[in-house]
Protein backbone atom coordinates (compact mmCIF):
# COMPACT_ATOMS: atom_id res chain seq x y z
CA UNK A 1 0.00 0.00 0.00
CA UNK A 2 1.75 3.22 -1.09
CA UNK A 3 2.32 5.88 1.52
CA UNK A 4 0.09 8.94 1.14
CA UNK A 5 1.39 12.09 -0.52
CA UNK A 6 3.55 14.41 1.57
CA UNK A 7 3.33 18.16 1.15
CA UNK A 8 6.09 20.60 2.12
CA UNK A 9 6.51 24.33 1.62
CA UNK A 10 10.11 24.91 0.44
CA UNK A 11 9.54 28.69 0.16
CA UNK A 12 6.73 31.20 0.56
CA UNK A 13 5.56 30.65 -3.00
CA UNK A 14 6.21 26.95 -3.51
CA UNK A 15 4.46 23.72 -2.75
CA UNK A 16 6.22 20.39 -3.06
CA UNK A 17 4.33 17.11 -3.22
CA UNK A 18 6.21 13.80 -2.86
CA UNK A 19 4.61 10.44 -3.53
CA UNK A 20 5.80 6.90 -4.20
CA UNK A 21 4.18 4.44 -6.59
CA UNK A 22 4.47 0.66 -6.80
CA UNK A 23 5.27 0.75 -10.50
CA UNK A 24 8.26 1.16 -12.83
CA UNK A 25 9.20 4.71 -13.68
CA UNK A 26 8.31 4.31 -17.36
CA UNK A 27 4.68 3.56 -16.46
CA UNK A 28 4.43 6.57 -14.13
CA UNK A 29 5.97 8.68 -16.91
CA UNK A 30 3.43 7.33 -19.42
CA UNK A 31 0.56 8.05 -17.03
CA UNK A 32 1.70 11.70 -16.86
CA UNK A 33 2.35 12.18 -20.58
CA UNK A 34 -0.15 10.09 -22.56
CA UNK A 35 -3.55 11.79 -22.87
CA UNK A 36 -5.55 8.54 -22.84
CA UNK A 37 -3.91 7.58 -19.52
CA UNK A 38 -3.84 11.06 -18.00
CA UNK A 39 -7.59 11.50 -18.23
CA UNK A 40 -8.10 8.32 -16.21
CA UNK A 41 -6.59 9.73 -13.03
CA UNK A 42 -5.95 13.45 -13.21
CA UNK A 43 -8.93 15.57 -12.25
CA UNK A 44 -11.71 15.85 -9.75
CA UNK A 45 -14.64 13.76 -8.61
CA UNK A 46 -17.71 14.68 -10.63
CA UNK A 47 -15.67 16.17 -13.49
CA UNK A 48 -14.79 14.75 -16.90
CA UNK A 49 -11.70 15.73 -18.87
CA UNK A 50 -12.84 16.55 -22.40
CA UNK A 51 -9.65 18.32 -23.47
CA UNK A 52 -6.23 16.77 -22.90
CA UNK A 53 -3.94 17.91 -25.67
CA UNK A 54 -0.32 17.08 -24.97
CA UNK A 55 2.73 17.76 -27.10
CA UNK A 56 5.43 16.56 -24.73
CA UNK A 57 8.66 18.10 -26.01
CA UNK A 58 10.60 21.28 -25.29
CA UNK A 59 8.50 24.11 -26.72
CA UNK A 60 5.47 21.86 -27.07
CA UNK A 61 2.15 22.95 -25.61
CA UNK A 62 -0.53 21.26 -23.57
CA UNK A 63 -4.14 22.09 -22.82
CA UNK A 64 -6.34 20.48 -20.18
CA UNK A 65 -10.00 21.16 -19.59
CA UNK A 66 -12.42 19.65 -17.10
CA UNK A 67 -16.18 19.78 -17.34
CA UNK A 68 -18.55 19.42 -14.41
CA UNK A 69 -21.08 16.60 -14.73
CA UNK A 70 -23.44 18.62 -12.59
CA UNK A 71 -23.70 21.86 -14.57
CA UNK A 72 -21.37 21.52 -17.56
CA UNK A 73 -19.09 24.35 -16.40
CA UNK A 74 -15.51 24.09 -17.58
CA UNK A 75 -12.08 25.23 -16.43
CA UNK A 76 -8.55 24.06 -17.01
CA UNK A 77 -4.87 24.71 -17.39
CA UNK A 78 -2.50 25.17 -20.30
CA UNK A 79 1.11 25.98 -20.97
CA UNK A 80 4.38 25.13 -22.63
CA UNK A 81 6.93 22.45 -21.78
CA UNK A 82 10.31 24.01 -21.03
CA UNK A 83 12.25 20.86 -20.08
CA UNK A 84 11.64 17.27 -21.07
CA UNK A 85 14.06 14.49 -20.10
CA UNK A 86 12.49 11.11 -20.77
CA UNK A 87 11.61 9.39 -18.43
CA UNK A 88 12.82 11.44 -15.47
CA UNK A 89 11.93 15.11 -15.69
CA UNK A 90 9.30 17.47 -17.04
CA UNK A 91 9.10 21.19 -16.43
CA UNK A 92 6.18 23.20 -17.71
CA UNK A 93 4.44 26.50 -17.26
CA UNK A 94 0.92 26.31 -15.96
CA UNK A 95 -1.59 29.03 -16.80
CA UNK A 96 -5.02 28.83 -15.23
CA UNK A 97 -7.85 28.86 -17.76
CA UNK A 98 -10.91 30.25 -15.99
CA UNK A 99 -13.44 28.94 -18.51
CA UNK A 100 -16.96 29.24 -17.09
CA UNK A 101 -15.95 29.39 -13.44
CA UNK A 102 -16.61 32.29 -11.07
CA UNK A 103 -13.21 31.82 -9.50
CA UNK A 104 -10.46 33.87 -11.11
CA UNK A 105 -6.75 33.90 -10.51
CA UNK A 106 -4.63 36.99 -11.20
CA UNK A 107 -3.39 36.91 -14.79
CA UNK A 108 0.32 37.26 -14.92
CA UNK A 109 3.29 35.01 -14.50
CA UNK A 110 2.39 31.33 -14.61
CA UNK A 111 3.03 28.67 -12.04
CA UNK A 112 6.12 26.61 -12.91
CA UNK A 113 5.52 22.91 -12.40
CA UNK A 114 8.37 20.45 -12.29
CA UNK A 115 8.00 16.68 -12.07
CA UNK A 116 10.93 14.45 -11.25
CA UNK A 117 10.79 10.67 -11.29
CA UNK A 118 13.30 8.23 -9.87
CA UNK A 119 13.05 4.47 -9.42
CA UNK A 120 14.50 2.06 -6.89
CA UNK A 121 13.59 -1.63 -6.57
CA UNK A 122 10.43 -1.26 -8.62
CA UNK A 123 9.19 1.71 -6.59
CA UNK A 124 9.02 5.08 -8.30
CA UNK A 125 9.29 8.33 -6.37
CA UNK A 126 7.61 11.39 -7.83
CA UNK A 127 8.52 14.86 -6.67
CA UNK A 128 6.14 17.51 -7.97
CA UNK A 129 7.22 21.07 -7.29
CA UNK A 130 4.88 23.98 -7.96
CA UNK A 131 6.40 27.43 -7.95
CA UNK A 132 3.73 30.14 -8.00
CA UNK A 133 4.15 33.70 -9.20
CA UNK A 134 3.50 35.01 -5.69
CA UNK A 135 2.49 34.01 -2.16
CA UNK A 136 -1.08 35.07 -2.86
CA UNK A 137 -1.22 32.95 -6.02
CA UNK A 138 -0.05 29.94 -4.06
CA UNK A 139 -2.60 30.46 -1.30
CA UNK A 140 -5.39 31.15 -3.81
CA UNK A 141 -4.63 27.95 -5.71
CA UNK A 142 -5.99 25.92 -2.84
CA UNK A 143 -9.36 27.62 -3.03
CA UNK A 144 -10.09 26.93 -6.74
CA UNK A 145 -13.59 25.53 -6.98
CA UNK A 146 -12.96 21.81 -7.31
CA UNK A 147 -14.89 18.94 -5.79
CA UNK A 148 -17.82 19.81 -3.55
CA UNK A 149 -16.01 18.54 -0.52
CA UNK A 150 -12.98 20.64 -1.29
CA UNK A 151 -14.77 23.89 -1.95
CA UNK A 152 -13.54 26.55 0.36
CA UNK A 153 -14.46 30.16 0.72
CA UNK A 154 -11.99 32.69 2.07
CA UNK A 155 -14.91 35.09 2.42
CA UNK A 156 -16.58 32.75 4.87
CA UNK A 157 -13.33 32.38 6.80
CA UNK A 158 -12.86 36.14 6.96
CA UNK A 159 -16.40 36.46 8.28
CA UNK A 160 -15.65 33.83 10.90
CA UNK A 161 -12.62 35.77 12.08
CA UNK A 162 -14.55 39.03 12.13
CA UNK A 163 -17.32 37.40 14.16
CA UNK A 164 -14.78 35.94 16.61
CA UNK A 165 -12.95 39.25 17.06
Amino acid sequence: MPKPAEVTLPSDREVRVTRTFNAPRQLVWDAHTKPELLQKWQGYDGWDMPVRDMDVRVGGKYKWRWRSREDGKQFGFSGTFTEVIVPSKIVHEQYYDQGDMDFAMPVGDPCIVSLELSEQNGVTTLVCNLKFASKEARDDAVSTGMTDGMEYSYTRLDDTFKAAA
Binding site: A5, R19, D30, L37, W41, D139, V142, T147, M150
Partner: protein, 118 residues
Protein backbone atom coordinates in the same frame (compact mmCIF):
# COMPACT_ATOMS: atom_id res chain seq x y z
CA UNK B 1 -5.69 39.19 0.95
CA UNK B 2 -6.50 38.91 4.60
CA UNK B 3 -6.30 35.16 4.95
CA UNK B 4 -3.08 35.00 2.95
CA UNK B 5 -1.53 37.37 5.50
CA UNK B 6 -2.76 35.14 8.32
CA UNK B 7 -1.06 32.16 6.73
CA UNK B 8 2.19 34.08 6.21
CA UNK B 9 2.32 35.21 9.84
CA UNK B 10 1.45 31.72 11.05
CA UNK B 11 4.11 29.99 8.98
CA UNK B 12 6.72 32.60 9.92
CA UNK B 13 5.83 32.16 13.58
CA UNK B 14 6.13 28.37 13.31
CA UNK B 15 9.50 28.54 11.56
CA UNK B 16 11.39 28.75 14.84
CA UNK B 17 12.06 25.87 17.27
CA UNK B 18 11.74 28.01 20.41
CA UNK B 19 8.35 29.31 19.33
CA UNK B 20 7.21 25.79 18.45
CA UNK B 21 8.30 24.64 21.90
CA UNK B 22 6.38 27.54 23.47
CA UNK B 23 3.25 26.50 21.56
CA UNK B 24 3.73 22.90 22.68
CA UNK B 25 3.97 24.04 26.29
CA UNK B 26 0.86 26.24 25.98
CA UNK B 27 -1.05 23.33 24.46
CA UNK B 28 -0.95 21.79 27.94
CA UNK B 29 -2.27 24.94 29.63
CA UNK B 30 -1.65 28.65 30.00
CA UNK B 31 1.60 29.97 31.44
CA UNK B 32 3.29 33.23 32.47
CA UNK B 33 6.39 34.65 30.78
CA UNK B 34 8.51 33.44 33.70
CA UNK B 35 7.13 29.92 33.43
CA UNK B 36 7.62 29.89 29.65
CA UNK B 37 11.22 31.16 29.90
CA UNK B 38 12.23 28.47 32.39
CA UNK B 39 13.18 25.60 30.02
CA UNK B 40 15.28 27.85 27.76
CA UNK B 41 18.63 29.43 28.52
CA UNK B 42 17.17 32.70 27.40
CA UNK B 43 16.47 36.03 29.01
CA UNK B 44 12.89 37.10 29.61
CA UNK B 45 13.16 39.93 27.04
CA UNK B 46 14.28 37.35 24.48
CA UNK B 47 11.29 35.15 25.29
CA UNK B 48 9.03 38.19 25.14
CA UNK B 49 10.20 38.85 21.57
CA UNK B 50 9.10 35.35 20.59
CA UNK B 51 5.79 35.86 22.37
CA UNK B 52 5.17 39.05 20.39
CA UNK B 53 5.65 37.16 17.12
CA UNK B 54 3.19 34.50 18.27
CA UNK B 55 0.69 37.14 19.41
CA UNK B 56 0.92 39.04 16.12
CA UNK B 57 0.18 35.80 14.29
CA UNK B 58 -2.86 35.29 16.52
CA UNK B 59 -1.51 31.95 17.74
CA UNK B 60 -1.48 32.98 21.42
CA UNK B 61 -3.29 35.60 23.44
CA UNK B 62 -2.86 37.18 26.82
CA UNK B 63 -5.32 36.47 29.54
CA UNK B 64 -5.88 39.82 31.17
CA UNK B 65 -5.40 38.69 34.73
CA UNK B 66 -3.95 41.74 36.47
CA UNK B 67 -1.21 40.05 38.49
CA UNK B 68 -0.05 37.08 36.42
CA UNK B 69 -0.92 37.89 32.74
CA UNK B 70 -0.52 34.36 31.48
CA UNK B 71 -0.44 33.53 27.78
CA UNK B 72 -2.77 30.99 26.27
CA UNK B 73 -2.97 29.11 22.99
CA UNK B 74 -5.43 30.24 20.30
CA UNK B 75 -5.95 27.02 18.37
CA UNK B 76 -8.11 28.41 15.53
CA UNK B 77 -5.24 30.10 13.67
CA UNK B 78 -3.08 27.00 13.88
CA UNK B 79 -5.97 24.87 12.64
CA UNK B 80 -6.35 27.21 9.68
CA UNK B 81 -2.75 26.66 8.63
CA UNK B 82 -2.94 22.92 9.11
CA UNK B 83 -6.28 22.71 7.29
CA UNK B 84 -4.89 24.64 4.34
CA UNK B 85 -2.01 22.26 3.80
CA UNK B 86 -4.24 19.28 4.41
CA UNK B 87 -6.74 20.43 1.77
CA UNK B 88 -3.94 20.82 -0.70
CA UNK B 89 -2.56 17.39 0.12
CA UNK B 90 -6.00 15.79 -0.21
CA UNK B 91 -6.43 17.17 -3.73
CA UNK B 92 -3.18 15.58 -4.81
CA UNK B 93 -3.80 12.38 -2.88
CA UNK B 94 -7.20 11.82 -4.54
CA UNK B 95 -5.54 12.01 -7.94
CA UNK B 96 -2.69 9.77 -6.88
CA UNK B 97 -5.02 7.09 -5.55
CA UNK B 98 -6.66 6.99 -8.96
CA UNK B 99 -3.18 6.77 -10.45
CA UNK B 100 -2.40 3.82 -8.14
CA UNK B 101 -5.43 2.01 -9.55
CA UNK B 102 -4.42 2.79 -13.13
CA UNK B 103 -0.81 1.65 -12.57
CA UNK B 104 -2.06 -1.59 -11.04
CA UNK B 105 -4.33 -2.20 -14.02
CA UNK B 106 -1.46 -1.50 -16.43
CA UNK B 107 0.77 -4.01 -14.65
CA UNK B 108 -1.71 -6.85 -14.30
CA UNK B 109 -2.80 -7.02 -17.92
CA UNK B 110 0.23 -8.18 -19.89
CA UNK B 111 -1.62 -8.40 -23.24
CA UNK B 112 -2.75 -4.77 -22.89
CA UNK B 113 0.78 -3.69 -22.09
CA UNK B 114 2.03 -5.34 -25.27
CA UNK B 115 -0.38 -3.29 -27.34
CA UNK B 116 0.52 0.07 -25.75
CA UNK B 117 4.29 -0.54 -25.70
CA UNK B 118 6.16 1.62 -28.23
Amino acid sequence: MQSSEHLDLTFAALADPTRRAILARLATGEATVTELAEPFEMSQPAISKHLKVLERAGLISMDVDAQRRPRKLEPKRLEEAVDWIERYREIFEQNYQRLDALLEALQTKPSRRERTKK
